[in-house]
Amino acid sequence: MEGNVTALGGQIIFLMLLAPLINGIIKKAKALTQRRRGPGVLQPYFDILKFLKREPVVSAHTSWITLVTPYVCLGASLAAGSLIPLWGHSAFQLGDLIALTYLFALAKFFLALSALEPASAFGGMGSSREMMITTLVEPVLVLGLFGVVMVAGTTDLAGLAGAGQNPAGVLAFIGLMVVTIAETGRIPVDNPDTHLELTMVHEAMLLEFSGRHLGFLHWAAMVKQTVFLVLLTYLFWPHPSGSPVLQAAGLLVGKVALLGLLLAVLESIMAKMRLFKLPELMVGGAAFCLLAVLSNSFL
């Protein structure tokens, strides 16, 4: 019990500290592929620190939803991350893969609500776009996870380490990569670097937040991105179980950074898609996930 509590707490702190680093690496890699110098790898830490020092300004017309949203988002993302048994043993039987999916949905729900609350022009637009993308992404995510789950025969994350290491897993991986791009708001779907009013989705929802709250929301987005990458490495490329914690952590950081590099390269070679072309991309992802499920049921 005592050991489990330490493991769980350690994992949460690990994810919180890792997330800005991964974001920094992706940003740096993206800058380098575009032949810019780019900010340093540690810049996201400084950004978050700066935000956390500032007082938030909250509109007088908003209710408690706006006040709790930053904490709900960060909390839900961290809770989702803590469900993955990173160090080879499950900390608690807190929830399975389905719970993980819906913890992210909870964060999204609160963020969309709170963006509607101050009734600013862009917030509502961002919410409606985010919800549209969510309705497209969620079936693909669940299908892709099922493609992996069907091999292992369990949705319990402890039994899923490396469950994707088979031909069907390759298909599921491609589909889940599309999902990761959409969920982390990366380029063909959303552009994390601009506040261009015509295209922004996630940034539009953050417009009314400031100071500490904005810092927490940025942090939550980074944690979510890291958790997705960690989940992918856990399902498709896990470290051998029973390796010492430090070695496992080092390997994990390396693998997640590698996946982040892949994201950065993909983001650099693609152009932002029109919003109404997104269903095509998502149906493509769904096709791969569906094929993974199919090939599992007939082989």
Partner: protein, 213 residues
């Protein structure tokens, strides 16, 4: 290994269904042929019943289908294709989903029920059959005469893999004949699309039902 290769073969076929651009279709076709030649090489080198003639087939595939044919197609596309993106009868996403349905149909019905006398284990046979179906659907869903050319080559790739899956390839003299046929066929169809373009000023198959003197 061979399982992953056949899987990549299937993925390239599906990706072809999911795109509009002509150059992308040609590149994916070349990639598919490359996988095909890799399968042939793999079987020739490491299979239990390894035979040198798989190596010849792999080499021929590499030269003709990976290098020569795409080159001809690119040249032809430069000349005859007016717009970079071809008109589709259904959207790329839906067309990809239909492709998956076709693959599912092959796996669940065609191979175990319709063709149950053909006793071939493994992934290769159903994947090859689905590639034939995907090529056929590629031709149906693209409304451009040029893409029907690409669809033909894709179907041929599938049939080729079928032959490999069923009895380790056809006799060498037959394979040579097929390669020659394919090359000449693509050249003839290339000339033909050129003529269509000259007469109708478009490759859209929708307008091809009008008589023109």
């Amino acid at each position: 290994m061979i399982g992953y290769l056949t899987l990549v073969f299937l993925i390239t076929g599906l990706l072809m269904l999911g795109g509009r651009a002509v150059s992308r279709s040609i590149a994916l076709l070349a990639a598919q042929s490359l996988v095909l030649s890799m399968i042939a090489f793999y079987l020739g080198l490491w299979d239990a019943k390894a035979s040198w003639h798989m190596l010849v087939v792999g080499g021929l595939t590499l030269v003709i289908k990976v290098i020569v044919l795409p080159w001809i197609l690119y040249r032809l596309a430069d000349r005859v294709v007016k717009y970079h993106e071809v008109p589709l009868s259904i959207g790329p996403g839906l067309s990809m989903l239909t492709g998956v349905l076709l693959v599912g149909l092959t796996y669940s019905y065609v191979v175990p029920v319709l063709l149950k006398e053909v006793q071939v284990g493994g992934q290769m046979f159903p994947v090859a059959l689905s590639a034939v179906l995907l090529g056929c659907f590629f031709m149906i869903s693209r409304r451009s005469a040029f893409n029907q050319l690409i669809g033909i080559v894709m179907m041929e790739n599938g049939l080729f893999l079928c032959a490999i899956a069923i009895n380790g390839g056809m006799p060498l003299i037959l394979e040579l004949g097929i390669f020659f046929d394919l090359l000449v066929g693509v050249l003839v169809m290339g000339v033909f699309t050129n003529r269509i373009r000259g007469t109708f000023d478009t490759l859209d198959t929708k307008v091809l039902n009008k008589l023109k003197g």
